[in-house]
């Protein structure tokens, strides 16, 4: 059996003396979309930071395709196929949209974005604008486009729909499904149930730094998640 695209084994992580995540184990396979849900402050963003390489684990292992990536810095992880959009500070505010989308590609070309531009025409309209002038939701869409076209094999999105209009959320869900169908693996932290319903294969719910529920996408999923979040 080949190694999963991403595997976390008994990961604990935190800041300084504080442990925010406890004993987290999960896998993501190529072609699969894993959504991670939970209230604010439970450790979801900490988990994404850990996966992206911005935060080292306090214990446990993390591997991509069987290779231990704990010693790899964020830029090194990007080089081996991990694309990441953080929860906040998602763009380079003083740079134009065009620069945001092309600066990290050797060819500096926008060709790879044609499909995404059709879905999100507002982005193409504003390529010459500085990213700092966009609204919060538009910046999220920009970051989303960047990650989807980056060419990575493991795409990590932290709350991609925050501030985004419902019709664009639907587009995002479609793009995510298309990426999964094309063989990519996706990890998406999300609190928006409609995105989870449209895009996820599996869902994990985190509370107080631990995994409290796992389920596959199905008719009972929404109720199960809501119950776990005590709303």
């Amino acid at each position: 059996m080949s190694e999963p695209l991403l595997k976390l084994d008994r990961i604990s992580a935190g800041y300084g003396d504080l442990t925010v995540l406890r004993d987290i184990s999960l896998t993501v396979a190529a072609g699969e979309v894993l959504c991670i849900s939970g209230r604010n402050g439970v450790g979801k963003t900490t988990l994404m930071r850990l996966i992206s390489g911005a935060l080292p684990p306090q214990s446990g292992t993390i591997a991509m395709n069987g290779q231990d990536i704990a010693p790899l810095e964020p830029h090194a992880r990007q080089h081996i196929g991990l694309s990441y959009a953080p929860q906040d500070s998602v763009t380079f505010a003083p740079l134009t949209l065009r620069e945001n989308l092309t600066l990290h590609h050797k060819d500096h070309s926008l060709d790879r974005y044609q499909g995404l531009f059709r879905r999100f025409p507002r982005i193409e309209e504003r390529l010459g604008q500085v990213a700092g002038t966009l609204s919060g939701g538009e910046r999220k869409i920009l970051a989303f486009c960047r990650v989807m076209a980056e060419g990575g094999s493991l795409l990590c999105l932290d709350e991609p729909t925050e501030g985004v209009q419902p019709e664009n959320i639907a587009h995002m869900a479609e793009e995510i499904r298309a990426a999964a169908e094309a063989g990519r693996g996706l990890v998406v932290v999300e609190q928006n149930l409609s995105l989870i319903e449209q895009a996820a294969d599996r869902v994990i719910v985190i509370d107080h730094g631990e995994i409290v529920h796992q389920t596959r996408n199905g008719p009972d999923m929404r109720a199960e998640i809501l119950e776990k979040l005590k709303v």
Binding site: A54, E73, P74, H75, Q78, H79, P94, L95, E99, L103
Partner: protein, 283 residues
């Protein structure tokens, strides 16, 4: 009329030469957030390089690359051994670079001694501008510096490397996430800043007093220019130089040298209070 021309040229010279001297610190402090207390000593090294080259009987033009390389090399050593560990500890970088400043100053004393050195202008004489005579070398310097700044500005805005640096400055975490090796980029920016300081010292060498203690003055002026002009932009460097250079010249003529100094100090503190980002902050 002649006096007015000479006065404007003097003011322009004051602002432009100040901007030149600030550039190195503007790169290192403005972009990387490192308060390089050894900035003045890097300028001094550039000036001493000019003297050394001239004393060896070699053409002064040779001093430019040598000064840049010498200062850049010291900057590289600093970054790799010390600064690299301290990016998240601003207090310690201040201390460490202050220690480096003392070290460099003492090293200069050992190598070159305490007496003032002087460097003869590579082009002497004066040019007539709109009917007024003004030293040729100063004119050349001003033109070269302005052209250099314009070139630097265009490079920073247009080139791919410049875009990466701007990205790193704006959002270092995201820059790393998109695959930019921020550590390498930061090191190169630091070396560039150090080399700029050395270059500035070399270019200015025929026009300034050269002694082991010259550095701290330039450190302080550069710092005040950045407080007023704001960190992270070339425009800020010029605006800051304009305000500080202009204020110092004006205050010195009315109140004397000490008065000029006090004025600059008061202005900086006011900016710290009221406009801590400076006039043209772009971070």
């Amino acid at each position: 009329m002649q006096e007015a021309i000479v006065f404007s040229l003097n003011v322009s010279y004051g602002i432009i030469s100040l901007a030149l001297l600030v550039l190195g610190l503007a790169i290192i402090f403005g972009l990387l957030g490192v308060l390089n207390m050894a900035h003045g000593e890097l300028v001094a090294i550039g000036a001493y390089t000019a003297w050394a080259v001239q004393s060896a009987g070699l053409p002064l033009l040779l001093a430019l690359p040598v000064a840049a390389i010498a200062a850049g090399a010291i900057g590289w050593l600093m970054e790799i051994s010390i600064i690299r560990h301290l990016y998240r500890r601003p207090f310690d970088t201040l201390l460490a670079t202050w220690g480096i400043s003392i070290l460099l100053r003492e090293a200069i004393k050992i190598c070159f001694g305490l007496e003032y050195k002087s460097v003869i202008e590579p082009v002497g004489g004066s040019i007539t501008i709109l009917g007024a005579d003004y030293p040729t070398y100063r004119i050349w310097l001003m033109v070269a510096v302005v052209l250099g700044f314009v070139g630097l500005f265009l490079w920073y805005r247009r080139s791919h490397a410049g875009t990466r640096v701007r990205a790193m400055v704006a959002n270092p975490m995201l820059a790393s996430a998109v695959g930019i090796e921020t550590a390498k980029l930061a090191r190169r920016a630091f070396v560039l800043g150090a080399a700029s300081a050395g270059l500035a010292g070399c270019l200015m060498a025929p026009l300034i007093r050269i002694d082991p203690y010259m550095g701290v003055d330039y450190l302080l002026s550069s710092f005040f220019v950045l407080v007023v002009g704001g960190l992270g932009s070339l425009q800020g460097v010029f605006i800051g130089s304009g305000v500080i250079g202009g204020a110092e010249t004006a205050a010195s003529t009315i109140l004397g040298g000490t008065g000029g100094y006090v004025t600059v100090l008061v202005i900086s503190i006011l900016f710290l209070w009221l406009k801590p980002g400076g006039l043209y902050a772009r971070r």
